[in-house]
């Protein structure tokens, strides 16, 4: 019973962050696939703007991951 309660508490606490992480990762996967498919269809490499957009996404995530790193 105690384990069940602990499980439920952890689930409730963590669920919002987990859902956000899942959603964010899924969107990034979809986004990357679509972008590369477009490039392939148009027979071209990524444009500077596309690189900048990807770098901005990556840098924003890294800033969060390393937010309190010393």
């Amino acid at each position: 019973m105690t384990s069940a309660l602990s499980f439920a508490m952890i689930l409730i606490q963590y669920l919002p962050a987990a859902i956000q992480g899942i959603s964010e990762a899924a969107q990034l996967i979809e986004w990357g696939v679509e972008r590369v498919k477009t490039m392939v269809a148009e027979k071209r490499d990524p444009s500077p703007a596309e690189w900048d957009e990807l770098n901005a996404k990556t840098d924003a995530l890294r800033a969060r991951l390393h937010s309190d790193a010393t």
Binding site: S3, I10, A26, D45, P46, A69
Partner: protein
């Protein structure tokens, strides 16, 4: 029973969005597209890592039994692996974006993939992402993906539903 529930949640709640996704690396054709694809997959792994890192740090021993938390040593390991992945991916990007490059594109890409594999493996080792469940997207005539890339793109970012819990399910 809880183990079954856990598996059900992981598969049903988390894996389903990814089951619908292909993977960028298997679509890419040119070196620049491959680096772009690799970096977008790296970003997806980052999102899973951030979800874990954003939890309050575990305070051992008792409170971790009833709190979702992130372990400090895991976070440090994740950050270290991320630094390596990021550095090598950006180096590969520099090579493919420089028209006058003297760098070896194949080598840069290979190094970046290796670092990303390590980053991926760190997340797998800590159960922040799960076992491969996503089917491969391989257009006709395309050579099979490399094993390290295969690992990255087939991995479902389960994120951290059950991070560093002290509870035995």
């Amino acid at each position: 029973m809880y183990k079954t529930l856990r598996v059900f949640l992981l598969v049903g709640l988390i894996a389903s969005p990814f089951a619908l996704s292909g993977c960028a690396s298997s679509v890419a054709e040119t070196p620049a597209q491959r680096v772009y694809a690799l970096q977008s997959e790296y970003a997806a792994l980052l999102a899973a890592a951030v979800a874990y890192e954003s939890q309050p740090r575990c305070i051992p021993p008792a409170t971790s039994l009833t709190m979702a938390c992130s372990q400090e040593d895991w976070v440090l390991e994740i950050r270290t692996a991320d630094n390596d992945a990021y550095t090598t991916i950006r180096a590969a990007q520099d090579v493919v974006r420089d028209p006058n490059t003297t760098g070896n594109i194949g080598t840069a890409l290979s190094i970046a993939r290796s670092a990303l594999t390590v980053f991926n493996q760190v997340l797998v080792n800590h159960h922040l992402i799960g076992a491969p469940t996503v089917g491969m997207y391989s257009p006709p005539g395309m050579k099979p993906p490399m094993s390290d890339r295969d690992l990255v793109q087939r991995t479902v970012p389960h994120s951290v539903l059950f991070p560093s819990m002290g509870v035995q399910l």
